[in-house]
Symmetry: D2
Subunit: 262 residues, 4 copies
């Protein structure tokens, strides 16, 4: 997002391939990696029981839907907040409750942000939260939860466990902020497992090679070439010991024709 803004301002000085947009990156690393490691960070920091908790996930992009999926997998009752109507609709159809954050604030036991934007949890939300609520972020930076606002409405803060700061609000309620609002999966756990980072690194290596060896690219943000994406997927399947089907000649022909099958 930042690099595309730079490119459109003419501030980008060299070509970039957006590895994060590779299917073998965002479909896997963001979803399965962030999903698992976020829950992992939450548990290492708090050892709280997730089953039976109302678990609010801000966002329904690839990272946040990974988190939602894993929270559900641990027995949580998941609530999604979104600003994009399409994603909100998808979340609802996936069986989650969808509501604005100002309502979610009142019912949530655990809050996880992963939107890429700032102040997703802001003062009005903090003021409505239940005593004992847990707040953490797995989005890009420590701006998703407005920590300054949290400090401003608190009379003291405690450190009951590593990675947990407990804010005692003026009215006596306690809110537990994990990892100071920084990425909880990196701070309190170990980040993505190697078995999902391997695909991201393979994309990076093969894309750098393509830039180095290929004909010169414009100073823009380019997508990952399809053949690299596919190659990474094939290598990964092989490493997992999985075999798949191959289109027969007859099937290839059928896909490219419009004279039969209608």
């Amino acid at each position: 997002m930042r690099l595309r803004a730079m490119a459109s301002d003419g501030a980008l000085k060299y070509p970039v391939i957006a590895v994060n947009d590779a299917m073998t990156k965002h479909l896997f690393d963001n979803r399965y990696g962030t999903g698992q490691s976020t829950i992992d960070g939450l548990l290492r920091a708090t050892n709280t029981l997730i089953a039976g908790k109302v678990f609010v996930v801000a966002g329904y992009g690839w990272c946040s839907r990974g988190i939602a999926m894993r929270a559900k997998g641990e027995g949580a009752n998941v609530v999604i907040t979104e600003v994009d109507p399409l994603r909100a609709l998808e979340a609802a159809m996936d069986g989650y409750r969808v509501m604005p954050m100002i309502e979610a604030a009142e019912v949530g036991d655990i809050f996880l942000t992963a939107t890429g934007d700032l102040n997703v949890i802001d003062e009005p939300h903090l003021k409505r939260m239940k005593d004992g609520a847990i707040l953490a972020n797995s989005g890009h930076f420590n701006v998703e939860i407005n920590v300054a606002a949290l400090e401003a409405i608190s009379r003291e803060s405690l450190q009951p466990r590593q990675h947990v700061t407990t804010y005692v609000l003026d009215d006596g309620r306690k809110l537990h902020l994990l990892a100071e609002g920084r990425l909880v999966n990196l701070s309190a756990a170990e980040g993505h497992p190697s078995a999902v980072m391997d695909m991201s690194f393979a994309n990076q290596a093969l894309c750098v090679e393509r830039i180095a060896n290929g004909k010169s690219l414009a100073c823009q943000v380019h997508p990952v070439p399809d053949d690299i994406d596919k190659q990474v997927a094939e290598l990964k399947l092989k490493a997992m010991g999985l075999e798949i089907d191959t289109l027969t000649e007859e099937q290839c022909r059928y896909q490219n024709t419009w004279q039969s099958g209608t």
Copy 2:
């Protein structure tokens, strides 16, 4: 697929908007609609217990992953076959078994095809199937299961229930084909529920209006305009009584800058 082939052959005589590619179409109609109605067709045709069955889904596109999701939701043990390595990988990461159809043929109790290609279940697969296996298709046409091959290796066929043809193979095994290999969700059930078709129809109506009112479009296959897609999602959320968040000015600004947050 057919229309794009026509366009590249110069055979397309008027502009087309590919409503099937709208997010509010394929993310919903194909996935939630086909998923539910396929299981519905299977049950109306057979009343078989899905729990505990090995349920083979050919393909892991939007339709087929909807079917897989619902089969899992009924307690099946789901196997996915694919030709695309990326989708195969995604299926594996979603917890499904992935294998070539020739292996799946030996373990499956129920087979559902939704690939868009022909002879996905062909003679070699049919020959390896277990006695009593059920075969059905929810893909585009009645070509996904090679019915001619099935007839060729059978000594007789019976009609034990409406929508069920039982083929008695030469070796005595029985294979049950539903709806003659035609779309089982349309033949044996009622197709997609109105609550998911409404979005597809809204897309169609708004796209036709756009073609009629807009400036002339080339005789190509065009994507659904983003604003129409978004409008349909907003209308649907409203109909479901769901409210979502709106980006604050501060958040919009933050998304479009690259000078902070890095």
Copy 3:
């Protein structure tokens, strides 16, 4: 329940074996059978899209948790109502929302009762329901939904589809009652699949044989003998082609000792 009440009143004239209490009955027939067939009945009657709907299940016994599991598997957001604190707690830990029916009445799109008691959905609940709500019963009799109360607050009733009676309330809201409040899985679908009834019938046959051949039993309600329950499970596994482990001698010995392993 009825027979035990008779026995304690001295009104039971012959011995009874409570086949419904067999593990191979209630763990399977009630849960997997009722779960699947109830959703099946709902879909045949209405063809409504379940994904994205708030689906209220009254009860969290074996039948009702089967229904809840399958509704969730179709993408619903499931709400459980209960009178038993233990079951309510289990429902919450399983990730469902738990609330009294009077609150559920206001949020539900679809209501399914399976409690074994009467007037679980009564006038106060009906008065609060959303326009368009669907009501059905999969519990023992057509008493779980108070149909008389529904008629009393309606100004007319329509029959838009087979198995659907639409009540137009005095304030104009419409409530759709399926199968007149009778068991929707028997009325609108085909009841349990044979693949789950086989175990119930096997229990019945083997228990009747036991009564006929065994020494005389008191005129009470007796549990299914463990060995019959186990035999039915073994036969079913065999029919499904599944093999399991057997305890080694060493393992048997270990289980029955208390001198080692502490």
Copy 4:
């Protein structure tokens, strides 16, 4: 099990209430507590990606089904081994693959034992496992995995991370044993969350009180009184802020009669 063996040998010198058999204990602590904390221990020890892995769970009792449920929730493909046909059947109907351990040994990436018996993973299984397989135990003691047998077929052992012992087999394959085969959720994680232990402790406290205050009990293993179990559930629901329904007088009467509703 041990205490009942003692009682039947006349070796039990005081009354015991089997708190582990309380519904509010084994339905919650064993299932939700062990389930979550076992996955937690596995991740803290290895940081392995669970999605896409074949995850073998030995047993389908309360602990092991909790583990299976959470492994599935993390995206694993779960295989169950059992010696009890009823539980095996339930596992199959829940959508898991069921097979003997000797077959599971060949396909598993991760093995978790929770059976209460010894040598569940023994030399013949170890010899067939894939290179890189992970082994851990969440059952009662460090006897479920035959560690002596593992050592006997290894040429060396390494300690690549805390809680991980890597055995290099004579043929070069590596097997990773977690926490020396001791309970991985206690060794590598923090055991059950307080939010589930609270119910177990409440049961213990209330049962000790009952023994102290009540009339003298025989030196046997007694079940937890139903009223204590129910009281614990009610207290827990209240602590979670959940309200449930209460039977009306009419409903109570209906449940205890056999003259109506038939």
